[in-house]
């Protein structure tokens, strides 16, 4: 039992829990979508004074900020109390292809330290560009993985399917076309 908790959780448990989270939020009268918090954070920082898009009462979104805060706490609990090792058991093929890029920390670290802990000009630039694209793209598409791929597809929304196809077109292009130039 202890090992079941400390080891990485299998996909069928994790997928079920994500659906459970969506169920609870629906039953609370809200919906599952994390990226709108980024907009709310902009509003709290005063973006509403300059741009209409951010001019709304952020307190109406307080519930989602609480979910977001919970996600931070959950990350702390998960890493400090529910994990025995820090590597990620990705496939051997994946390990080999990453080695060609000079990334070989997957057996010892949850995130590639070459990107997240190097703090070189290049790694900071990659994180900054990645973050910018995620924020810009999520709002442009009106949702992210939770809002479109989980909530939207569960509600059989064609727009969400288009968005998810877009997520994969972008992701595949980044990894298969751009990564060889970046790394």
């Amino acid at each position: 039992m202890m090992n079941f908790i400390l080891d990485p959780w299998p996909w069928y448990v994790s997928g079920g829990l994500i659906a459970f989270v969506m169920f609870l939020l629906l039953m609370m009268g809200d919906s599952f979508g994390m990226s709108s918090n980024l907009r709310t954070l902009c509003t709290i920082c005063g973006a509403g004074k300059k741009t209409d898009f951010f001019d709304f009462n952020w307190k109406s979104q307080k519930w989602n900020l609480l979910v977001m805060t919970g996600a931070v706490v959950g990350g702390f609990i998960g890493s400090h109390f529910l994990s025995s090792h820090s590597g990620v058991a990705i496939s051997n093929e994946t390990i080999l292809s990453l080695q060609e890029y000079g990334i070989d920390s997957s057996t010892t670290s949850y995130l590639p330290i070459e990107i997240f802990e190097a703090y070189s000009v290049k790694s900071i630039l990659l994180l900054a560009i990645g973050g910018f694209l995620v924020g810009f793209g999520a709002r442009y598409a009106g949702g992210c993985t939770s809002g479109h791929a989980i909530s939207g597809l569960s509600n059989l929304q064609l727009p969400s399917l288009i968005a998810v196809v877009g997520f994969f077109v972008g992701g595949l292009f980044m990894i298969h076309v751009l990564f060889p130039f970046i790394f």
């Binding site: 959780w9 989270v21 629906l26 973050g131 694209l133 791929a149 064609l158 288009i162 298969h176």
Partner: protein, 137 residues
């Protein structure tokens, strides 16, 4: 009480994101290389139950915990914004290896480099807000 409920739901979500490794850059890279079933399994199972529960809630007119009908927002019809926005999001998702939920989970897990990602995700959101009316939707 209600605040505590939202916080707790977030905690379940955060622990799930961390323990499923969906918050790991490595898993996202592996997913886009089609080298493991893991991420597809997670999304697939979430969708299986998601589609089922959404259909049941709608069909049976199930009320929320507060006694009002559960609301589902239909997304406005369009192609451009979802396709263009989706592609831009996907580029960033693959590069940073984190989407807007797991980003926050990673802060709690102690990876402070992710704060750069979050800061710039906010900037990206802000820049979208500025140019919103000039973009094809």
């Amino acid at each position: 009480m209600k605040n505590l409920a939202y916080l707790s739901i977030g905690v379940i979500f955060g622990i799930t994101m961390f323990k499923s490794e969906a918050a790991s850059w490595f898993r996202i890279y592996e997913m886009f290389n089609f080298q493991a079933f893991h991420m597809y399994g997670i999304i697939g199972v979430a969708l299986f139950f998601g589609v089922l529960m959404t259909a049941i809630i709608k069909k049976k007119n199930i009320k929320s915990f507060y006694g009002v009908p559960v609301k589902f927002d239909d997304k406005e019809k369009s192609i451009k914004r979802y396709l263009f926005g989706g592609i831009i999001f996907g580029l960033g998702w693959a590069l940073a290896g984190a989407c807007p939920g797991p980003m926050f989970t990673l802060v709690g897990a102690g990876f402070y480099g992710i704060l750069i990602v979050i800061g710039f995700a906010m900037l990206g959101t802000y820049v979208y807000g500025i140019f919103k009316n000039k973009l094809p939707h």
